[in-house]
Symmetry: C2
Subunit: 154 residues, 2 copies
């Protein structure tokens, strides 16, 4: 049996989980209501928009948007169905596929980004005391590094 968490450790875990659940839920809902986009869908679009040229390969996009390969397939199916993105064959490797934004997709990202940025500002940036910003960013970046090390790729 593992040593149980002490008071401070429990408090840390509770607040990390709550912040995580509530923040994601809120940003997702706001995107959903304003643009019919889930947060993961927006993330995928945003990563495509952030890159110059012919989009990103599915594998690469999945890694960046932190979704499984399989889930990305389904997400891109939906994006394609609503005309926001298309798949293109990948020059030089016939196994690969690039996801690319359409014009509509580019316009959509712009609109949705406004909603998203506004939400991140209000619910995270402005709610976070100034003096804690550096420590929160640094502390969590260590957690992220730990979790990315030995992450089983799927």
């Amino acid at each position: 049996v593992a040593r149980p968490l002490n008071e401070v450790e429990q408090a840390t875990w509770r607040v990390v989980l709550s912040a995580s659940v509530l923040l994601v839920e809120r940003l997702d809902r706001e995107l959903q209501e304003a643009h019919g986009l889930s947060l993961p869908e927006y993330q995928v679009l945003a990563h495509l928009a952030s890159v110059p040229g012919r989009g990103l390969r599915m594998r690469e996009l999945a890694d960046r948007a932190l979704v499984s390969k399989s889930r990305l397939t389904h997400v891109v199916n939906r994006l394609e169905a609503s005309g926001l993105a298309v798949r293109e064959p990948c020059a030089g490797d016939r196994r690969g596929l690039n996801a690319v934004l359409t014009r509509r997709g580019q316009r959509m990202v712009q609109l949705a980004a406004a909603t998203h940025v506004h939400g991140v500002r209000r619910h995270l940036i402005e709610a976070l005391p100034r003096r804690d910003v550096v420590a929160v960013t640094r502390g969590l970046s260590h957690v992220v590094d730990h979790l990315l090390t030995d992450r089983t790729r799927c």
Copy 2:
């Protein structure tokens, strides 16, 4: 159009989202593999175990475990189907239902708690530099407070 996020703000948001997604995913997977329980399911069981006596009303449990009322109904259905919890009528209010752990449920929480605590320790507590613990906890608690204020109850 909202003012875009500056470098620091973007970094903060990115790391908060990544930590959130990766941590929840990892803890969920470990619980899943060891006990066939999702993280939300474990949270529900853990909240029931943390309270003395006749369990918790569905509404109250939903609030504590940060899931929607509807989702809690489905989760408790599954827990009931696998013999980990039961619903009991609520004394004094015939609209209410209490979710209560069975003996099997109690045993299951104990087992799963070991897995869960171990995971929280390795992936959050130990990965978080000591000097950042206070600020992370305090900073995110402000975010949680903000999000709980005016949360639309569903």
